[in-house]
Point group: C2
Chain length 251, copies 2
C-alpha cells in the first residue's frame, strides 16, 4: 500500500513511544517489537532514533524514556487555550467548596485531565493534567459520553474493558446506556464510589459558545464527608455557574 500522504515511519515511532507505560517503564528492543507488532529491526531503528534525539536513554539493553518526551505533551497543554482558561475558574471553585475540582476532555474511551485544582488528597491515585481514567466510571466521562450520539457512545462502551473497580462500579453496558440517558436528561452525573471506595464526584458538561460539549468539570469529595445524595444539592449550582460563565469564552 502506497499512501503518499502518510509517513509510516512517523506513525511507527509514535507507536513505540506509546509502548512505554505504567507497567512497562523499561523495555528491550524485543519487548517493543512485540508490544507494537513491528519488526524487531524496525523497533530497533525507532528506539535508536529516540535515543539519538534525547527522548530516550539506552544502557545497552533497556530503553527508558527521558523527560524530554514531556515536551510533546507540553506542546498541547501550553498550545491549547482550554487548560489556561479553565484553570483560574477551577481554583476559585475549589476554594469556594473546599473540594478538588477538575476539568477533562474525552479521548476515545478515556477521559484526560487537562486542569485540576486539588485540595487535600482523598484519592489513592494522583491525578494531574495528562492523567487518564476510563470514561464509563468517571463522572466527567459519563457527561461526555452522554453528550455523544447514542450509537457512538454504545460503540465506545463496546471498546472498553468494563472492569469493576469497586462493588459499586456499573459494568453492564445496557445499564450504562440507561444511566447515560438519565445523565443527558438531568444535565449532570453523580458517581458514588464506582472508581474508588470513599470517593464521590459530580460532573457537568462544559459547552462552547455554539453549544457543543467540549469538556467536563467536576468536583470530587470524600464519601465520608458528603453522601452521594448531597453532591448535587451542594455542588451542582456552583458547577453550573462556572460552566455558564466559561461558555462564551470557549470556541
Amino acid at each position: 500500500m502506497q499512501e503518499t500522504d502518510f509517513v509510516s515511519g512517523f506513525a511507527r515511532g509514535l507507536k513505540v513511544i506509546e509502548a512505554f507505560g505504567e507497567a512497562t517503564p523499561k523495555l528491550t528492543i524485543a519487548d517493543v517489537a512485540r508490544a507494537t507488532e513491528l519488526d524487531r529491526a524496525t523497533a530497533r531503528r525507532c528506539l535508536l532514533t529516540l535515543a539519538e534525539l534525547g527522548y530516550a536513554d539506552h544502557d545497552g539493553k533497556f530503553f527508558v524514556l527521558t523527560p524530554k518526551i514531556l515536551r510533546l505533551g507540553h506542546a498541547y497543554l501550553s498550545a491549547t487555550p482550554l487548560p489556561h482558561i479553565v484553570q483560574p475558574f477551577l481554583d476559585k471553585l475549589s476554594e469556594e467548596v473546599h473540594q478538588s475540582a477538575s476539568a477533562s476532555v474525552l479521548d476515545g474511551t478515556e477521559i484526560v485531565y487537562i486542569a485540576r485544582a486539588s485540595q487535600k488528597r482523598v484519592m489513592s491515585i494522583n491525578l494531574m493534567p495528562g492523567s487518564r481514567l476510563p470514561a464509563y466510571c468517571a463522572s466527567m466521562g459519563r457527561v461526555m459520553l452522554a453528550a455523544l450520539p447514542e450509537e457512538e457512545a454504545r460503540v465506545l462502551l463496546e471498546q472498553t474493558v468494563l472492569k469493576a473497580f469497586t462493588p459499586n462500579t456499573k459494568t453492564d453496558p445496557a445499564e450504562l446506556m440507561q444511566e447515560l440517558a438519565r445523565v443527558r436528561d438531568q444535565g449532570f452525573a453523580v458517581i458514588d464510589q464506582e472508581l474508588e471506595l470513599g470517593l464521590c464526584s459530580i460532573a457537568v458538561p462544559l459547552t462552547n459558545d455554539r453549544g457543543r460539549v467540549i469538556a467536563a468539570l467536576n468536583i470530587g469529595a470524600p464519601a465520608a464527608q458528603v453522601s452521594a445524595d448531597e453532591m448535587a444539592e451542594r455542588y451542582l449550582q456552583p458547577l453550573k455557574a462556572v460552566a455558564k460563565s466559561l461558555k462564551p469564552m470557549l470556541r
Copy 2:
C-alpha cells in the same frame, strides 16, 4: 547521509509536534514548514499523519493538536518511577510546612516539573507536571546546574537566553557561575524573587543511591510571608530530610 540506524521520518514528525507551543496553538502547513525547517511537502505529510492517527485536528487550513498527544508525555510520567515515588513525600512535606513543594529534573537548559504538591496558589503561572522553567533562574535549576561539571554548566548557560524576569533576576553568566559554585558548596539554592516578584524558593538536590544528582526538590513561599533569609532556616532541614529518606529508594 545514509544513517542506517535512524528513522528520519520519525525525527521530522517529532519536530513537527514540537512546533506547536504556547504562542503557536494552531498552525498551517507553511507555518510548520518554516518552524521546523522542513520541506512543505514533508511537513504536510507529517501533519496529515498526525491527523490520520488522531493526534491532530484539521479544519482544512489550521492544524491543532488533540489531547491524544498527551498520551506521549503520559507514557513517561506513568512509566518513570520517580514521579510516583516522590509524590507522597511532597504531599507530606507540603502539608508540614504549609507551602508548595515540587520536584523537577533537568532537560537541557530547562527544568521540567515531574511532581508537585501545591498549597494556595501564589505564582501567577500555573505549574504542573510537564511544565518548564529556565534553569538559570529557578532554585531547582540552580542546584541541578551546580551538580554538573563546571564546563557543562557554562555551555548550558551560553545556550540560554538570560532574560530578566524581575529586577532581581541574575543574568550575568559570570555571576551565575559564581552563584553555582556557592550552591555547590552549601548544598542548596535560594531564589529571591528572580522569576516572579513576591516569590521566594529554596531547593536541594535529590541524589540516587549511588550519589548522583538526578532531580531537585523545592519549596516555594510568598516573599511577604517568608523573607529570603528565613527560607533556609525554616525549610532547609525538612527538604534535606526528605532528600535523605528518598535517596536509598532511587536508582
